[in-house]
């Protein structure tokens, strides 16, 4: 079976639709402007609809799956909290504890549920979903666009905001900030029937595995090395993700590192991520994008001499995913949780590597 690995934490499904077109139709779930400039108002819902524990008696498997997901940790996870504590901008909260009812008490138990059942399923005080079981006691509003990429785009596709001095978004700029859904829709799997859930789905549909899941990362991005003369050639491939990697939060990036342990000063590294510069409209213009588009391959050639050390010393390779801006966080707001994940690594002498059969390509570092 083909493995697709979309790395954003998204709750999606259905056809690959244009998010803008869906917004024009004003779907039942679509109660706020694009970009998360406002909180989501769930309406006058009964308390049990606003608490995952209220859903659990009838939907235990789904709630358990969600509870182990990053959606459930959207507000409490250490990486977000460490960055939020440094810059507590209300705009961020609109996707990390999105409901107006959560935002009334950000230290409370409902906020701690992050992106919870009600975040997606409760509008106007009633349930919204893509379908309704005949036995359901709920007066569910059925909307075919629920769970489509357009739905996920609400928090996984938006431009840089213009923030007022208190961190409230007062407008959106034209400059892309998170581009996961657009990247998916421009990619080879845009036509998949289940949309984002093709990869981020699960047994009960609510696990939303993404970049924090070892299996997703290692299936999505591959690392391979071979030797050609006195050089090592390394290839990094977005082998299975339906969108660019890394994606999601702009801080996320990857490093490919090639080195000999006796000579870290000669470390060679390639960066996969985006860089920006301020734009006149208050947003940030992308000036560099080395993220790997679906099926893209990056090839790097390095000479053995360039790496220092002895010629017969093993060469180490590692591809590392970094979740925050600084791989080595220091200071009072450094998160306690690991901020990196090793996707792949290898250590071999040049002689142990398989021979490449093609001519060297210029390094693109």
């Amino acid at each position: 079976m083909r493995v697709l690995a979309c790395l954003a934490l998204v709750a999606c499904g259905g056809s690959a639709a244009d998010p803008v077109a869906h917004r024009a139709r004003k779907a039942a779930w679509d109660v706020r402007p694009a970009g998360g400039t406002l909180a989501i108002d769930p309406g006058a819902a009964p308390p049990e609809l606003l608490d995952a524990q209220g859903c659990k008696p009838c939907h235990a498997a789904i709630v358990d799956e969600w509870a182990a997901s990053r959606h459930a940790l959207a507000w409490t996870n250490d990486i977000f909290q460490s960055e939020y504590s440094a810059r507590p901008q209300p705009w961020c909260v609109n996707c990390h504890a999105p409901l107006t009812t959560q935002q009334r008490d950000l230290a409370g138990p409902q906020a701690a549920q992050g992106v919870d059942c009600a975040t997606c399923h409760v509008r106007d005080g009633t349930l919204v979903s893509a379908g309704k079981a005949p036995s359901s006691p709920h007066s569910t509003v059925v909307d075919a666009t629920f769970g489509t990429p357009a739905f996920c785009a609400d928090c996984h596709q938006f431009t840089f905001p213009v923030l007022d001095p208190t961190g409230v978004a007062v407008a959106m700029t034209e400059h892309p900030m998170q581009t996961t859904v657009a990247s998916f829709e421009a990619g080879p799997y845009a036509g998949e029937r289940d949309g984002c859930l093709t990869c981020h789905g699960s047994k009960h549909g609510h696990a939303f595995a993404g970049a924090h899941d070892d299996g997703m990362l290692t299936a999505a991005v591959t690392l391979a090395a071979c030797a050609i003369g006195d050089r090592i050639r390394v290839r990094v491939t977005n082998a299975a993700a339906g969108h660019a990697v890394p994606t999601g939060d702009i801080h996320r990036h990857m490093y490919l590192r090639i080195w000999r342990s006796s000579a870290p000063e000669s470390l060679v590294q390639a960066f996969f991520g985006r860089r920006f510069e301020p734009a006149p409209d208050g947003g940030k213009r992308t000036i560099w994008d080395s993220t790997l588009a679906p099926n893209a391959v990056k090839t790097i050639d390095v000479t053995s001499t360039e790496l220092g050390g002895d010629a017969d010393e093993p060469i180490s390779l590692e591809l590392t995913y970094v979740f925050i801006v600084n791989e080595f966080p220091r200071g009072a707001h450094a998160p306690d949780a690991p901020v990196t994940k090793s996707i792949a690594s290898e250590r071999a002498t040049l002689a142990e590597l398989p021979a490449c059969e093609v001519a060297p390509v210029p390094s693109a570092r």
Binding site: S85, A86, P88, P165, D214, T218, V221, T222, L223, A224, A225, C226, R233, R235, A239, I250, H251, H253, Y255, R257, S261, S262, A263, P264, E265, L267, Q269, R274, R275, F276, P278, G282, K284, I287, W288, S316, E318, L319, V325, N326, E327, F328, P329, R330, G331, A332, H333, S342, I343, A344, S345, E346, R347, A348, E352, L353, P354, A355, C356, E357
Partner: protein
């Protein structure tokens, strides 16, 4: 230990033989790895300090870690150097089983200097915290020599060399060691990017010392700082301070700070409590002499305190980002009141057309005596900074508090509060040291360097 997935096995490079990757191993599969550990922090029993290294541009124990044969740790005690020691602090490494040292004994800048100065002979190598010791005898020869010490698998934090006897120098009694490189063997994965960054830190420290020497040697420059300060560090439970008021409150909670800088903290607190109420000012300094970073005193810049990912350096106290001697004396600044309504909060929101801006807090004026004395200044700087994610507009504010003698006694900025101690020496006011509180959880004590460290 969790095994890493070796994806080379999953994806074959173009042209590679399909089965050629079989049997290749990841780092952990190969067992322990020997790796180079860099150091950006050393200590020694003493170091020689004379007119040849007035600004610590050589001889300090840090030069043992710079991979440069032209520099050296040179001990500064009377006598031959026997009994002296040097400690190299390395990246903490768990499960260390072996340490290999490469040593350039003596002062290897030239063969003449090698012979002229003393070289280490009998040395005890001590690994910390295990306290594993090995007694070795170094040869009296130029070039690299190696020694290997094994320990039961455990942490490695520091490596000490205790010199028991020396090969005496033909001209000078001073014991020298040009370089020590540390290679440690452990099952723990190595981290080349971090080690490389430590090497860069040490190079930056060294460059600052050389820059100070270049700027000041042979020139008649009167600075209120000494050429070097010793720094001691203690830790406390830090809390990220998101405002000047917050970091000043942290300093106020530190009893020694609160006691010694009571009045200055009260002034800083009052200023930080209502920044937008401060009137704008302009500086027309009478003394334009630039400050020079010395060992243990750095000059703050927008880049090192105003960045998105700020982290205050723990190897020195901070001096104002104004960067001039006049910043240390309010009566040399000539603070002029200006009619400009730009408030501090408006300054912090500027995204363009941003320049250095100053606000002033004065003591109550006495009638008919002109402008009242400057009690405190708030200095704002902004500009484009370069971060991992590209360029961005950065802002930084510092509060400078002056005493009744017009001397700077307290500096509060992003995540830091620094208090200064003064003395008058030959009629000149000089900073003898101070105390700094950093919100990351560190308190620094700085004293004019003359002390002698102790071995562990």
């Amino acid at each position: 230990m969790k095994s890493l997935v070796i994806l080379a096995l999953l994806a074959t490079p173009v042209g590679a033989k399909p089965d050629a990757n079989e049997g290749r191993r990841g780092p952990e599969d190969r067992g322990p790895i020997e790796r180079r550990l860099f150091s950006n922090e050393t200590e020694a029993s003493t170091f020689l300090w004379n007119d040849w290294n007035k600004f610590v541009e050589n001889y300090h124990s840090n030069y043992i870690a710079d991979d440069d044969a032209k520099t050296a740790w040179v001990e500064g005690a009377p006598g031959s150097g026997a009994g002296q020691w040097v400690r190299v602090v390395v990246t903490p490494l768990e499960q260390t089983t072996q340490v290999r040292l490469k040593i350039r004994n003596g002062y290897q800048k030239s063969s003449t200097l090698f012979k002229a100065n003393a070289r280490a002979k009998d040395v005890t190598v001590r690994l910390l915290p295990s306290k594993t010791e090995a007694k070795i005898t170094l040869t009296d020869a130029e070039g690299w020599q190696e020694v290997t010490v094994t320990q039961a698998s455990g942490p490695l934090r520091e490596v000490e060399l205790h010199v028991g006897s020396v090969y005496e120098g033909s001209k000078y009694p001073d014991l020298c060691i040009s370089d020590v490189q540390v290679f440690a063997t452990s099952k723990v994965k190595d981290n080349p990017a971090f080690e490389k960054s430590k090497r860069a830190d040490l190079k930056a420290w060294r460059a600052a010392r050389i820059a100070a020497a270049k700027a000041l040697t042979g020139k008649k420059v009167e600075l209120p700082t000494y050429p070097a300060y010793a720094i001691t560090k203690t830790e406390f439970e830090g809390t990220y301070a998101d405002s000047l008021a917050a970091v000043i409150a942290l300093a106020g909670a530190d009893q020694p700070f609160a006691k010694e800088w009571k009045d200055a903290l009260a002034t800083a607190k009052a200023v930080a409590g209502d920044l937008d109420a401060l009137p704008r000012a302009q500086l027309a300094p009478t003394n334009k002499q630039k400050l020079v970073a010395v060992d243990g005193m750095q000059i703050t810049t927008l880049g090192n305190i105003g960045g998105d990912d700020r982290y205050n350096d723990e190897s020195s106290l901070r001096l104002p980002m104004l960067g001039t001697v006049a910043a240390l004396f309010s009566d040399q600044l000539r603070v002029l009141d200006v009619k400009d309504s730009l408030k501090v909060s408006e300054f912090e929101a500027l995204t363009k057309k941003c320049k250095e801006t100053v606000w002033v807090s004065r003591a109550t004026a006495k009638e008919g005596t002109g402008p009242a004395a400057v009690r405190a200044l708030v200095v704002g700087r902004c500009g484009m900074l370069e971060g991992r994610e590209g360029s961005y507009m950065g802002h930084a504010l510092q509060i400078l508090v002056y005493d009744t003698n017009n001397r700077l006694v307290l500096l509060a900025g992003p995540g830091h509060v620094d208090g200064y101690r003064w003395t008058v020496e030959n009629g000149k006011a000089m900073i003898t040291g101070g105390r700094a509180l950093l919100d990351q959880g560190t308190i620094l004590e700085a004293t004019k360097r003359s002390d002698v460290a102790t071995a562990k």
